[in-house]
Point group: none
Chain length 117, copies 4
DNA sequence: GTGGTCTAGACCACA
DNA sequence: GTGGTCTAGACCACA
């Protein structure tokens, strides 16, 4: 379930995967997150690395900590929507940028995409 | 003309930008490449960094060195086409992967993309 | 009425808020304090947490327990005055310390303060 | 020169002290910051702890990293001014809040402050 | 039991 | 040489 590449820091990949699960609703708003140590074991990484990933997600407001009680996914579904739109936008823009850079027109790009959908 | 972010090694960003210019035909097949020192000055980076970028492009076959005479873009336009398809494919797959991960269906994804084209 | 931040232990915030109410005379000297369970419910915290806050206030002498009869605010108004002066002093010194640290002179500090009074 | 209390995490105290030195101009805008390892030894803490403090300062934009070359204080003196005003404002508001809470009027507060200036 | 902090130490990429 | 990442492991406060 958890796999990492060597190009990017593990904690960054953790952040991205957690974030996407939250944005997809796979982790339900308001639900409790598994303990750091448990996730660490599951993902086969050090608890500190998971901790660091959550620091970032908390900064983004997608997750919050209840002292001594554990972590929770935000219940603010509007915030989740906002983040989802942002990630989508960024993903689309990066995609278009690359395709144009290697010489695809808007039409060719859309045409090419269809083959993979 | 040359700009770099701090997240990624500069030489990687150079490779990507050179590659895209080759694949887009901006650097013509068979044409001579400017000397490393010149490019280094132009991009405001260390010549070693440009050197390292070319090592990668040579490994990919997009560029070759003629001893004592300088570097050239490959004339093998089929190879260029292949690379162009690969980059497009990879870009498309990564795009689709991310969008699906955050809960977009194929239709929604295509719909959303249209807004930005 | 009771609100807490996540940066500081709740019992510390309770201590501070109780103390300030005593020092301001909002809780009258010699008056009876509401039962721990009641306060806990009112503040939406665990009774143990309120208990711990009172232990600290008792250590400071601002509150005392009459076995089986409940807790009372001290009647020693001189002690209250002393504490009030201490808190004020500490607050002032910390304020001046910070302002000087970021480069405000005594005059600038006083000037700046006026804007907010 | 570097001293820490036990109430607050060391990395937070480091952040605060670095920040104040930047805001006071003690660390000049654009100047190079000593290497993490050096600062760690100077402050008698682990390099990771210093590292963590800088992560926060970078997030605030007061400091930036030049890959493999070291860290620098921001040259954006307007940003520094903004932060300085913010810290001052927060410090003043907290000071006023506490003093009022323990029963000082604006006049009494100003009066009391004078004694310490 | 939960998260938070800190250390010692290793290893890596970059330039 | 510089910063960045990661691990193992210890210890703490809180509730």
């Amino acid at each position: 379930m958890w796999s990492f590449n060597a190009q990017q820091p593990i904690y960054c990949q953790l952040v991205e995967q957690f974030r996407h699960k939250i944005l997809a609703g796979e982790y339900e708003p308001g639900s409790k997150v598994a303990p750091v140590r448990e996730l660490a074991q599951e993902a086969q990484v050090n608890p500190n690395t998971v901790q660091r990933a959550f620091m970032e997600l908390e900064r983004e407001g997608l997750v919050f900590t209840q002292r001594t009680n554990g972590r929770y996914i935000t219940s603010d579904s509007e915030l989740i929507q906002q983040h989802r739109c942002n990630v989508a936008k960024q993903s689309i823009e990066e995609f278009i940028y690359t395709m144009k850079q290697i010489g695809f027109s808007s039409e060719q790009l859309a045409e090419e995409l269809k083959k993979y959908l």
